[in-house]
Point group: C2
Amino acid sequence: VSNPTAPRIIGEQTLRRIITPAIAFDVIREAFRADGQGRTRVPPVINLDVPAHHGEFHIKTAYIEGVPHIAVKIASGFYDNATRGLPSGSGLIAVFDAETGLPSALLLDNGFLTDVRTGAAGAVAADVLARRNIAVVGVVGSGIQARHQVRCLRVVREFRRVVAWSPTRERLRRYCDELRAEGYEVRPAESVEEICAIADVVITTTPSRQALVRAEWLRPGMHVTAVGSDSPGKQELEAACLERADIIGVDRHSQCAAFGELSHAMTAGIERLTRVAELGNIVAQKAAGRTMDQQITIADLTGVGFQDTAIASAAVRASNQSN
Amino acid sequence: VSNPTAPRIIGEQTLRRIITPAIAFDVIREAFRADGQGRTRVPPVINLDVPAHHGEFHIKTAYIEGVPHIAVKIASGFYDNATRGLPSGSGLIAVFDAETGLPSALLLDNGFLTDVRTGAAGAVAADVLARRNIAVVGVVGSGIQARHQVRCLRVVREFRRVVAWSPTRERLRRYCDELRAEGYEVRPAESVEEICAIADVVITTTPSRQALVRAEWLRPGMHVTAVGSDSPGKQELEAACLERADIIGVDRHSQCAAFGELSHAMTAGIERLTRVAELGNIVAQKAAGRTMDQQITIADLTGVGFQDTAIASAAVRASNQSN
C-alpha cells in the first residue's frame, strides 16, 4: 500500500457477522450512559436537500470520551431510485482515530449499523422504561426496524408472543413468517388499536406522517417506543399520547423537540409534559426510569450521532480482533 | 466484488497526476459562477472539537446543479500529532452520485484537493480583481499554500518575479529554492512591509492570529488575497486594510463575516465597507470586479463546500477517463 494512512474497508457481510444484537445493546447502552455523564460532544447534523433528484443527505458525527474512534456517518435517501431498481437508502461511515484524527476504516454497511444501533436504542429505552415482565410485544410496521427492534428487545426482556400490524398485507405476512422461523409466536393484527389492546410493549417503526397510535388506546403499564420520527413532518403517536405518559424518554431533547414525537406535542401546546427525560440521564441514573408497574411510558427515538460513533468503533475493534 | 455499490478508492498520487493547476482553475471558476447564478446549496459546516487530544474535525458538503457528484469532505487537525511523527492534518473526501445518492468514490487525498482548490480560488479571485499586467508577486508564508497560490496564479497572469517572506528562515530558503527550480526569479524579503512596497499581487498564506499586513502599506493598484483565516481567531490583514480597499471579494459572505478577514473589520466597527461582493457574483457578472488600474482590491477566502464538490467531481471524472 503506497498510502500509509489508507483506511481499512469493512463490508456489510463482515459487519453483520460481528455485530450481534447483544453486542449492539451493550455498546449503545454505554453510549447513552456516557451521554448522561456529559462525556459526549454532538455537533448539529448536516442536512442537504437535492430537490432536483428527490434526494437528501444527512451527516452525523459525535465524540465520546473514552471511545477510541470518531465516526462520520453519511446517509442518503433518494426516492426516485426504486424506478431504476436501486435502493433508496445508501451511505457509508468513515471512522477516524480519536487521538490522531487519521482515517481508521470505511464501513460500507449499506445502512446495517444504523438499523442495528436503532434497534439497540429501542432495547436501551425498554430496559429502563418497560415493565420487567412482559407477555406480548406489539409491532407497528413490517420493515427492517420491525425486525431489529424485536431481536434487540430480546436481549433485555423475555417474551415469545408478538402481534404485528402493517398497512401492507403481503409484507405483514412475510414479516410474521420470518419471526415465526426465529421461534416467536406471531399473530397479525387487524389494526393498531387491536395491538394496543393486548401488547405490553408497543414499537412503532413506520415512516408515517400522521399519528397511528391514539392516546385513548394507551393502558396503564404499557410502554411505547416510537422510532419513525427521524425528520420533520413524520409522526406516529397522537400528541395527546405524550400528555398521558408518566415518563417520556427522549434520545436527545434538542432533536426530539425539533422533529420527534415531542415536537408534535409541543406544537399542540400540550403543557403537561411532566417527566420528559433524556435516556442518557436515565441510564446514568440521574433521572428516574419506570418505578411502578401501572405507569405509562413512551420512548421518542430520533437517532443521535453518538450512537453511530459507538457502534462504528465497536465494529472496527471487533473486526480487528476477528482478523 | 460482493458489494455492488462499493465505491472506488482513488489515492493521492493519482489525484496529483490528474488535477493540474489549469484544470483546478477551470473547475473552481465554474463552481463560483454556479454559486453566483444561484445554482449551489451549501449547508452549514460541522465543526467538532476534540479538546482531550488537541484536535478538531470540519465537515463540508454542497450540491451544485449540473455537477454529477456531491462530495462530503472530512478534514481533521490534531495538533499533538507532530510529537508522534504524524501529520497534523488528515481526512478524506467521500463522493456520491448526485442523482442516486450512491457512493461513487473515496478520495484519499491527504489534503491535496483542498490545497489545490484553495490555490485555484486564489487564481479565480486574482483573475477578476488583480490588474491584467503584473510584474511582481509577493507571498507571505512558506508552506503548501504559498506554493499552490503561485502555481495557480500563473494560469491567469504572466509573471516571473516572486518575493517571499516567512518567519521561519530555513523554510523560506527552501521555498525560494523550490520556486527557482520551477523557473521563477525569487527573492526572500526581510519583512511583509518590503513585500508590500514592491509586489502588485500579495498573497497571505499563514495561520497567523494577528495582522501581518498594515493598511498604510497598501498602494493603489495592488491586489491582496488572504487565504489564512479559515476559522475563528485567525487574521492576516489589519482591519483597516478592508476600509482602504475599493473592492473586497469574499468567497462566501456568511463565512467571511463569521471568521474571515471581513469579520475583524466588522468587529472593529469599520463602517465604510463599500463594495463587499461575493466572488461568485463577480464571476457571474452580477457584481463588478476591478474596473480601474489604481483600485485597491482584497480577496477574503475561507474555503466553501462547493469548491470541494467541484474539485472532487472533476477528480472522479478525470480518473474514470484515465482508467
